[in-house]
Symmetry: D4
Subunit: 146 residues, 8 copies
């Protein structure tokens, strides 16, 4: 079987590419997916619909359009990787983790050690906490091993 792995969270570093590359190097049979990770495009996802002059309304419209994609892909995933950077709030990543917990879908968190206290509830629902993309690759390699 092909595993579907959804990559949720932080968009400012190359963690997605590193995981995908690492898995390709191992020839793992994985189909990766993500939200649209281009920040401007994502913020403008709903701009083709009703013109919204107000920040909240524009964000609201775009966030709901983005969910068309993310909801479908998360529902379709076997495993979700949830990445938290140190600088940004990434509430959407925690939101995705809660969604996974509710539907019994296994997820792995990926974040540095200095934010473990703030993330303890999110980590408590996870199957694993990794600190590097390579660890995630290793976990996926183990999960898909014969």
């Amino acid at each position: 079987m092909t595993y579907n792995v959804y990559l949720s969270g932080e968009i400012h570093t190359s963690w997605r590419e590193e995981i995908i590359q690492g898995c390709q190097d191992l020839n793992l049979q994985i189909e990766f997916s993500s939200a649209v990770t281009n920040h401007e495009k994502s913020d403008a996802a709903g701009d083709g619909l009703k013109i919204q002059d107000d920040n909240f309304n524009r964000d609201h419209q775009s966030a709901k359009v983005n969910a068309l994609r993310t909801k479908t892909l998360i529902n379709n995933a076997h495993i979700v990787i949830v990445r938290f950077g140190n600088k940004y709030k990434q509430w959407n990543a925690a939101y995705d983790a809660g969604y996974c917990a509710a539907v019994n879908k296994p997820y792995i968190t990926l974040h540095d050690e200095d934010i473990i206290h703030a993330l303890k509830e999110v980590d408590a629902g996870a199957q694993a906490w990794a600190t590097t993309p390579q660890q995630v690759v290793d976990l996926l390699n183990y999960t898909l091993s014969k």
Copy 2:
């Protein structure tokens, strides 16, 4: 019927008390619940079990114990209020919101305007965004009106 309302998130201001007081003043038939909001007690929730010298393991053990309470209460709630302060990360609040979204349980967010962009995915899944506890009281009053 009595409504069960769960109050999730930030523990540094008096928003819980204000909502509860406001609803009591209106004689609304609501049973409120929360996580344990005493920070030290919450962090020590698992300390009576295995002695954990390491920060991650201690947090992990306590977070899972806290979930005994929060999972039960959220599952039992009709409506969840999710509060985000400006200073703290409150990933657990976003996590609760994602959980609610997945099980189709309606929730209201409560936060200031300056964090609407970071919270756009969480707000997109909410039934309402409030900025003051009084607005939440008004929403509950409306929801429970004859």
Copy 3:
């Protein structure tokens, strides 16, 4: 056991009162509920939140607030009555019927004969089609009989 019966749809005639009165006359053990049926109040349900100058945004905000109430009450109901008048579109009533069908919750439709063709899909998912409030009372009386 007490039955919870939710009354969905048209707000311009006295069908709700007739059903409730008819059941009270028979001492049926039923707790009735509804959306807020005061049109102005319902349209203004979200007005205490963000000020929305635009019609769509105002309606959107109020509709989501109203769903706080209706979602909870429909989920809590054992039986739903869905009323369609001839003049108005009542798409929300059809929406409620579709919701009930998906979660296997039994519902009764209440409407005149001249709109049976337009309502054939909604009626196909219903347990009964009534044309008068008295018929609904009779159905509930039968359903609750010893």
Copy 4:
């Protein structure tokens, strides 16, 4: 992955063809489906079964036969487009939207601005409101982008 998109609602204009054509022009990997959109055929869907002289009974029989198809296709879809024209009541479209809301399946509404008030509950549960088929194409293109 191939997306399954179900097109629900109004059958008197070419909106289905426009969306399908628009997506084909972009080579989007989408399998579209619909109810039988030939009005006479749809009304006669059950006529090969029991002979029904009465309008209600004939409609009832055909509507249930049509649901064999629509229920299967909606359950199988990742995204549903729900179209409302101005002239007809399309209660079945609202019914499909309610069904989607209940099972957490994302849907997009497609309708003109002059019926936003009547459709506010249906729009409140949607991920997006579009006014033209081209906007729907753009949303699908965004949703399926790499």
Copy 5:
């Protein structure tokens, strides 16, 4: 806790009364429920609605009205007793058993030994097969014992 026990099936002998009496004699905290067991009333359940001259249509209308009651009561039950007599077909009892199996609700069958072969699939999904009402009383007594 009070147990809700639903009694499904054959209506020509006194098995319901015997079980209820037996449990009352033991002061078991059980609330029993059933379909309407008066045959004429049950067949006429939908007669107050549309006049149906045809046998199938009349039966169809009444059966759907009866389901208003039975669906609610079965969903509400903790345990279901499914009774098959030797003379009648009681397909509705087997239908109820299949419904219970699908939603993981435990049920007990009650029937004579000479129909075990025809009932083997229904018995395979049951928690117990009893041949007398007294055995059912004993099972309930055991189930509710301190």
Copy 6:
């Protein structure tokens, strides 16, 4: 998409073959499945396991083995056809229909007119009642039409 259609019930006439042949003649994209329809083989399904001298225990063991197959295939089906003959009791067919009703899976009944009264609850939950295999073929052809 390929439809999976499960054929449940009576095994003494050629209705299965007629439906399958009829659909093949129309080149319908359907994968059919069934319980094992060889009566002796089906009764002996569990005989390779524990030796059971007693009729009930042998039937019980075989029925549970058969359910390995039928449960999987019904869960996998989009549409189920439930066939009742006049001579036999086919409680297992009614059981399958109840299972389908509970999980919202559409099914068609296939039986003669003289047993409509006894089957009224089963028919009430069905999408269609057919009296000939050809009618079922026609319904499937309609359901799969472009």
Copy 7:
């Protein structure tokens, strides 16, 4: 709210009584439940039904009767305590834990340190691992604290 707590597993020591007494001393609002813990009575649970001369068949019949009780009580519980002694295999306790994990119901394990390796999968799905009944009392006290 009153919590329902189900006590699963080992029946040879007084752990149940200690937990119940400890919670009563604290006036915790908990309703406790269990399988029938009298070994002989439990083994004989089905003996009033068909006479089964064979060990497997007798056990099978009794185990299914016991499940009438345990399934209902576990489904009704908010929290489950799963106790493993060192001497016995208590596969039924592990079975209950797996059931809880699948339906997202929180459970606490109670066992000595020398069997942690054999129980690692069961502990991995638990919210907490306790080694003494007093620790369980403390966890429940915390969970129910105001």
Copy 8:
């Protein structure tokens, strides 16, 4: 269709290979899967993550990593085989059986006769009890027969 069969439990004998070989000899269309059955690798599954000096914490971390794999594969399986040896406790096998029972997924147990009493609850939820791998092959052959 291809069946997915998950092989759970004991890792010290060749039962997995015997079942797989037996099914290959019959050309059955089955995709088999398992947990990682190399004991050392399985125990070390989480060792690449946080260094855990304590036995419980190390086991906990590895068990959760293993669940990434097993949860996905069990959810994906149509049928689960649960094997208990006589020497080891295999609580994880019983845990998997309970999981299957809760989600209505059919499973077969495979164990010797001398442990039937201790396994009676696990066997009660199973579709079949086999004592040899060959019996399992025969059951699968029957299940997949045309």
